[in-house]
């Protein structure tokens, strides 16, 4: 799943598709946290709470990224990263 996310992040040009890949990577890491917490330290909850906070932060990050993407689309009429070079020098 993480490898899929890496592949998508590099190959995709659409910004939203890149964001989808990012979510895949985050979820893979979350599942890792929970599995290792469950199997190695069944008495402790650290991995679970880490995943909880990671989900909250991922939600915030996605909302903000989509706001930025929609704003870029409004200004530029496309969201391909190859075509967005206005702020490069």
């Amino acid at each position: 799943m993480f490898a899929c996310g890496v592949y998508g992040f590099i190959t995709r040009k659409n910004m939203i598709a890149m964001l989808v890949s990012l979510e895949l990577m985050l979820n893979a890491v979350d599942i890792n946290f929970v599995v290792f917490n469950r199997y190695l330290f069944p008495g402790a909850f650290e991995g679970m709470f880490f995943t909880l906070f990671a989900i909250a932060i991922a939600a915030a990050e996605t909302a903000l990224a989509i706001a930025i993407i929609i704003n870029i689309f409004r200004a530029e009429k496309n969201i391909d990263v190859r075509n967005l070079d206005k702020m490069k020098f």
Binding site: L24, A60, A63
Partner: protein, 171 residues
């Protein structure tokens, strides 16, 4: 060892996760990519339920399936026509992506399979995690309790709301 039913369920969930995540990054219609992402997130929620973290599975469904995927669908429909495909990938970027993905897969797979005895270990017993424990752990301020990160996340969400409004506002 676990029962045969849970083992079969585990393989179904793992296969679904792998299949749908591959489809999500390889499909050419972006709306379908969002749908496959939704299925992957549901499979992850099922995995959390299977590991007896009911609260975490519920949070996963509520936040991801209920919030993030809806946001994705809105953004996709706002920024592209539903029918159009993305253009075909150049072989260079595809090769670069495949190399990076396979390298990551190799490193992670080696790290997992070098601890091979964990793969066959039985699931240790754990007392069910009730809501009182979760609540006191989130709101307590003593050792191994998470009041400060909780408040930090709340401030982060507030900043995110304000930032989203400021960014999306029409000037």
């Amino acid at each position: 060892m676990e029962s045969v039913g849970s083992l079969i369920l585990y393989f179904i969930v793992a296969l679904a996760m792998i299949l749908f995540s591959v489809l999500a990054v390889t499909t050419r219609k972006i709306l379908r990519a969002a749908t496959y992402l939704l299925f992957t997130l549901f499979a992850a929620a099922v995995a959390y339920f299977m590991m007896d973290y009911e609260f975490l599975g519920a949070v996963q469904i509520a936040v991801y399936a209920g919030g993030i995927v809806v946001l994705f669908v809105f953004a996709i429909l706002l920024t592209s026509k539903p029918g159009d495909n993305t253009e075909r990938l150049t072989s260079r970027s595809r090769g670069l992506g495949l190399v990076a993905a396979l390298a990551t897969l190799g490193v992670v797979g080696y790290a997992l399979f070098s601890r091979c005895e964990l793969l066959t270990a039985a699931k240790p017993n754990m007392e069910a995690l009730d809501m009182v424990t979760i609540g006191t752990t989130l709101m307590g301020s003593s050792h191994a309790q998470y009041l400060l990160p909780f408040e930090a996340v709340s401030v982060l969400l507030l900043a995110c709301i304000i930032g989203g409004v400021v960014v999306a506002r029409r000037r």
